[in-house]
């Protein structure tokens, strides 16, 4: 490179400096924005996950209500009811809590499935009364026997 080229190139280089600097700043800002967004996005997913679990809660309660509705339309669970505060084991992670809730729902289902409908319950009541009378009779007889012996 001769002196002229060096002079010309050096002048051009210096003149290009503000533009290059601006470009660098813009690039850095974009990079920072991207990285911020990335962080935000990464947390967003997980936070969203927690909301999913909260929705899961509603779903569980709704499912539980449906189950209860099958046994004579009782509404034992009202979504509007405040949920009871519970002592939470700090070690309890959300998967375990979900599993437990699922188990509770299953148990409810089981319980519901074993509960009689009102007609069945009436029969059961009549049968129960008969049984109770029979049982009472037996008890009376026995009591009487016992008394007899005494």
């Amino acid at each position: 490179m001769n002196g002229w080229d060096a002079y010309r190139q050096a002048a051009a280089h210096l003149a290009e400096m503000p533009e290059e600097a601006d470009a660098d700043v813009e690039r850095l800002a974009a990079d920072q924005e991207q990285r911020t967004e990335s962080v935000r996005a990464s947390f967003e997913h997980e936070i969203e996950h927690t909301y999913e679990h909260k929705q899961k809660c509603n779903q569980l309660l709704s499912d539980g209500r449906d189950e209860l509705r099958r046994v004579r339309g009782q509404v034992l669970i009202d979504r509007s009811e405040p949920l009871a505060d519970a002592e939470i084991d700090p070690r309890l992670d959300i998967r375990e809590a979900t599993r437990r809730a699922d188990v509770a729902l299953d148990e409810l289902r089981t319980a519901v499935s074993k509960q009689k409908s009102p007609s069945e319950l009436a029969g059961d009541v009549a049968g129960g009364v008969g049984l109770l009378v029979a049982f009472a009779t037996v008890v009376l007889v026995i009591t009487l026997i016992v008394i007899q012996f005494i």
Binding site: H13, V39, I47
Partner: protein, 922 residues
Amino acid sequence: MLGRARTIRATQALVDAVAILHQVADRDRQALEQRRADDLKQLRAGFAEEAGDLYEDHAAETSRRRTALNDAVTTFSTPQHDGGPFDVAEYVRLGQATLDTDLPDRAASPTIPVWAPLLDHGNLVLTGSWSDTVAGLIRSMVHQTLTDSGPGQVRIRSVDPSVRSALAAFSPLADVRDDLLTPPATSEHEVEEMLQGLLADVRATVDMFQGRRSTLGQLRRETGQPIGTYQLLVVTDFPAGFSRRATEGLLNVMRAGPAVGVSTIVHVDPAFRSTPGTPAVDTLASQAETIAVTDQGVRTGWLPGWTMTPDPEPDLTTTADLAEKARGAQAPQIDFLDCQPNVDLLSDVSTHRLTATIGRAGQRPVTLTLGDEIDQRHNILVSGAVGQGKSNLLMVLIHSLAMRYPPSELEMHLLDFKEGVTLEPLGARSSPPSWLPHAVSIGLNSDRTYGASVLSHLVAEFERRATLMRGHGDNITKYRLADPSHRMPRILVVIDEFQVLFDADDDTSERALADLERLARKGRAYGIHLVLASQTLSGITSMLTKQDGIFAQFPIRLALKNSAAESRAVLDQNNTAAARLRYRGELLVNLDFGDVESNRRATVCWAQDRQLAQLRQRLCDHSGADHSRRPTTFDGAHAPSLAEAHQKLSGIRRSPDSTAARSALLGTTVDVRSEPVGFALTADNGRHLAVVGAGAPRSGSGISEADNQAVGALQAAALSLAAQHGGDGAQIVIVDLLPETTSTACNMNEFTNILGTSGVTVTRYDNKNVDDYLISLNDMIESRQPDDAPVYVVAFGLDRVRKFRHLDMARGATVTPADGVHALLRDGPPVGAHLLAWWSSLRVMNEHLGLEASGTVDGILALRVTSNDAQDLFGPFTVWKPDGPRGLLHDRVESSEPSVIVPFRPLMTAQIDTVRQMVEQL
């Protein structure tokens, strides 16, 4: 009932589990949000650091670039201009520039000088309406181009259709050389013509490059010669005045010009529209760097982002200094020996030709060949104004030939008709001995008579050779090939300021012209070649009738810088190229009778006096036997001294025959041989010599009484007679009637004493006793016998005898001094008595001789006499205008016409001892 309770428990368990799940989810979300906030906070902290780092990086980079720019500016702002011919304004400064935007380091914006590439590098296109700024920039660029380039290096050409006259301040350059600043082209026709001329120059220079990729500057530096021509074309108001053809021509010049030294500055005015179909302005800009002048400032294409403030206009009153420097421009020196080909000293033969190398054209040596049968170039015509290096050119030519050819192959006759001393070192008088062994004769301060005699001698040689060659072919080459043993060197005749030969319209001129014409026409066949040099060929009126015929025999024309008229005279009517040469030493070589198409520029190599003297010493040493042959040197302004007559006197040996005629030596001939001229003093009646006229000019001319030619001639005569007689009893009577000042100046006492040592009897008389002696001559002559020892009466200033015809009756005298002299004149020679006398006045001499002795003196040596006196003495057609030490000698018995001689000088004080020893050895 149990199922219900169980259901209720299960329901409660579910509600609890969901509550826990809900709370766990809330807990996790809060934790995540906290982490996210923390992460983002940390990220932002990192970002600030990164931004800080980036700023520091930018500041550091800006600083580095500032430093790099400063370094580049410092390096570039110190161009090496030494004022020499190789200086070229490769870049010109326009102003200073500042950056348009702030720099990242927030420091002040730097200011840098703005240079623009020009000669050797490119063109400039300057856009903007005509304004003071535009005009100032153009003038500034032109001014710097001239100041930063070698003096006279750059020609400025301009196109100025709107008559802006921006370059008017440079007009003094045109006074130096009309091509340094040509008148601006204003019309389309003139513009086209100018561009065609430029394109022709470009093509010619491109040819010189011989395919090398280089610039003119590089080529000049490589060759060490300012070859080619730098030109700067300045166009204003483009495209006004430009036709389509002219625009295309301009584009071609801009495209091909810069590398070969033609750069262009084009001012483009947006107000002017191009002729339809012509190349757009953008096309011009593609061949140039651009400068835009707008209301917002001046910006250059090569410094984007910078705005320029033009420098103040230079002081244009210095243009006169530029012109003065251009006037004194000198070519760089090419050493003579470096320029010569590597051939053995004195080893070449001239059978076929003579070859000399006189300089270089680019990297090629400039070689001239004379006598070649194919080229048919036999003679050279040289022209050059005073001080342009003509003498150097001739010396280079002479010595280049002398180096190659031994004296047996080349002889030279060198004539210098100017008052310079160029050829003097080549002569035999040079001390230490370093004469040119090839030189047969050298004429210094030559007069026309000598020049004519040299030509006559050469014509005689030409005729001699013609006779020799009969039967051996019609030229020297054939003759020498036919008989290689025969020595016939070629002869080179160099005549500097030859026009002096023809200054007067007289016999000498006519004779010289006839001889010159004959030699020019036919000399070549016999190996005689002419080199005629002159500073003014255009004014030789006496050659008018034969000039064309003579110059037609001179195909080789060498023109140093001269006027346009002289250029036409030496080259061709259409060839004024010699007027456009730039330097002393720059030469136009034309081998085709000056035809403009055959011009070739060259630089004559430079011969230093000491270098040439050393070379001649080597030539003398190498020449062997020829070394002893000194050239005959004739100095028109110099009379030979008695000491210098040594060789001549040595040749006049004493004759054993006492009755043999003796010759009185008077001077030397004005011819090639410069032989001694004597007057024979035989026993025939009338063998006396009368020297007539003033021996020295009355005043002025720088010739003093010590150079009295009459005294010198008679002293030489006496000395030579003494040398021839020795101790044979001969008697020399010195009659010294000179004024005391003259007698003293001419060392008459010492001369008489020296004469007495030669063996002859010397008697001296003066004013006190001269009358008695002259009276006694009457008796002496009567008493003498033919075989008596000779007596020579040598009378200095006989016209000072006051009582020449006075009969002193008081003392009983019966004869007068005049009678004694008359007796000697009438009857002396048969009895060995001769008179050699000087009368300063012809009238007095005639009175002294009277009727009694009229016609008794055969020998007349006229010195400073009037033309009328000369015609009285020698006839009505005699022309005699003595200039310098000359005498007109006529021996009425030997010749019908007088001949010019150079009388000896009187005995010089510094040479008394030398002459005494010389006489004692004779």
